[in-house]
Symmetry: C2
């Protein structure tokens, strides 16, 4: 099986490639070839005996998606995206990559389909940002698309295109709406959502973390490991089961910041918790107010998508996958 | 006030221009200038003393939208679209006009905004085709976007872009989801929905009409006159009242085909009804099964949008506006 990963140099992309190589197969089909693309050249996995093509390309530029599709990958994971904060700051860049890039990829697939009937499985990473307040406390699968950011708008457009290109028979698509990924590894960043990971990651590393919101703020989380599991599962199931509604809200863990902190106490003790410094930030509080708190992802659960069992587990995943299992 | 109508040569476009000229103002502002564009050159209204620019342009082609926006119209009615049936038959043409055309128009407005703060009112004609089965019997305002045609997909994308460009402050947008327009004047066409108008229009003109579905089929209708009324009203109200959800399902008349026929009997007598010939068509029946039957357009009603009162009225509008008031 030939698998392409668009956005392979990102955090989820790298973990996905590592998992694919470690599994050696997908949905029972042996993995023989990888095509990895991103705006920066993705690393080649060491432990893989098959063919790897890795290249630094922007798929929103003419011809690049066509070149990727020329090799007719069986499965395409489309993870490439300008993240929420940057898409909000740089309107043109966000629309360029998140909307034009996605259209460009789907168009390259359609033109290949018209040529020789090519019809790959496409796993599109969407986001809970396709939803915007006002919300019910628990958001159902059929909540309407009401994004309140340019990023969410671009992801919602991607979902609509994915469904139409699938309905037309050009590709076999599934969109998965990822929860906020927590604990995000790496350095603190300035994303408004950064503190959700920061209040766990920094204390675990013996550093101070700033908490800008109240302990009562509730949000929807999944570990990077779960996110990769969703992607793999999406490419392994019979997509006909989705019917015409091709995008699914993924399961996650709904916890308050207070519950996150209690989980940190249970897993890493009082000393870690003591490193959280409360510095209320009106702006962040206002932004976070418009975010979803919990979902009831019935369809995804029925289709076998499985999230972390608890926020304690989310913390343990971080310790295992990012800290070599040691505190 | 300078008003631009994109798609001014179409059925609704022509009626809108006639109504604007007849009113002589919009929302209390005297009409001083009209910019009319369509792929075929729109007719110039005779009775208008102000400036009229009329041109045959395809706004999806580079530069054309920019040229239209260079004159800084205060209000832009964006009606240009490849209709449902054609967008389904010609994928590239549908996406070209309905998606690229809309983006191109919004982008021209954004670039003008960045230059001098220009921020026009944009009335975008969407459609109930943004919704797809399975439906509840009566569809609420917040039903999710689930189009089952390329046309519906393109309109849903337009709605999402409209909301984001509005949120960013580039324009002040409102999307109105038109019901099926009935009675559509002119010749019978091959659209699957054509019979809804045909079974009224043809008998009123003394001609035979084919009815391909059962009398129990229910659908959502508005007269061309009501559609024009929605457009005018949309450009006249305070759009801040919409909040972030910028597209509204318009009110309409929910009737079964049987009720349409009873209305025809009341308005035009037995002789008209006798011209309807029942010729069941499995394909049309199957298509129509996936269509919405009724909506509860609370938001639009609260904002003062008013539909025809009954299907009898819809027939009378056709007789008045298309037949000089005479049977």
């Amino acid at each position: 099986m030939h698998i392409a990963v668009v956005g392979a140099a990102g955090m989820i992309g790298r973990k996905l490639v590592a998992r694919l190589v470690s599994d050696g197969s997908l949905g029972g089909h042996p993995l023989t070839r990888l095509s990895l693309v991103d705006v920066a050249e993705p690393e080649r996995p060491q432990a893989f005996a098959g063919r790897v093509d890795s290249s630094a390309v922007d798929i929103s530029q003419a011809g690049n998606a066509t070149a990727l599709i020329a090799a007719r990958p069986d499965v395409i994971f489309h993870l490439a995206a300008i993240v929420s904060g940057e898409a909000e700051l740089d309107f043109e860049k966000g629309y360029g990559i998140n909307l034009e890039g996605t259209r460009s990829l789907f168009e390259a697939i359609r033109l290949a389909h018209l040529k020789d009937g090519y019809r790959p499985c496409v796993v599109f990473t969407s986001s809970i940002a396709v939803f915007g307040a006002p919300f019910p406390d628990v958001i159902p699968d059929d909540f309407n698309l009401t994004p309140l950011t340019s990023y969410g708008t671009q992801k919602a457009v991607g979902e609509l295109l994915l469904a139409d290109y699938t309905r037309r028979g050009f590709l076999d698509g599934i969109g998965i709406r990822l929860p906020t990924i927590c604990v995000r590894p790496g350095k603190p960043n300035k994303a408004a959502s950064g503190f959700f990971s920061g209040i766990v990651r920094e204390p675990l590393a013996g550093q101070v973390a700033i908490l800008p919101v109240a302990d009562t703020v509730r949000h929807w989380h999944a570990s990077p490991r779960s996110a990769v599991g969703f992607l793999i599962h999406a490419a392994s199931i019979d997509l006909q089961l989705l019917g015409s509604r091709r995008s699914l809200t993924m399961p996650g863990v709904s916890v308050t910041v207070g519950e996150q902190i209690e989980a940190l106490r249970r897993v890493a003790g009082e000393r870690a918790v003591a490193l959280i410094r409360r510095e209320p930030d009106e702006l962040v509080m206002k932004i976070v107010q418009g975010w979803p708190q919990a979902f009831e992802p019935k369809r995804a659960s029925e289709l076998g998508f499985v999230a972390d069992r608890s926020f304690d587990d989310i913390i343990r995943v971080h310790i295992e996958d990012e800290m070599g299992g040691k505190l």
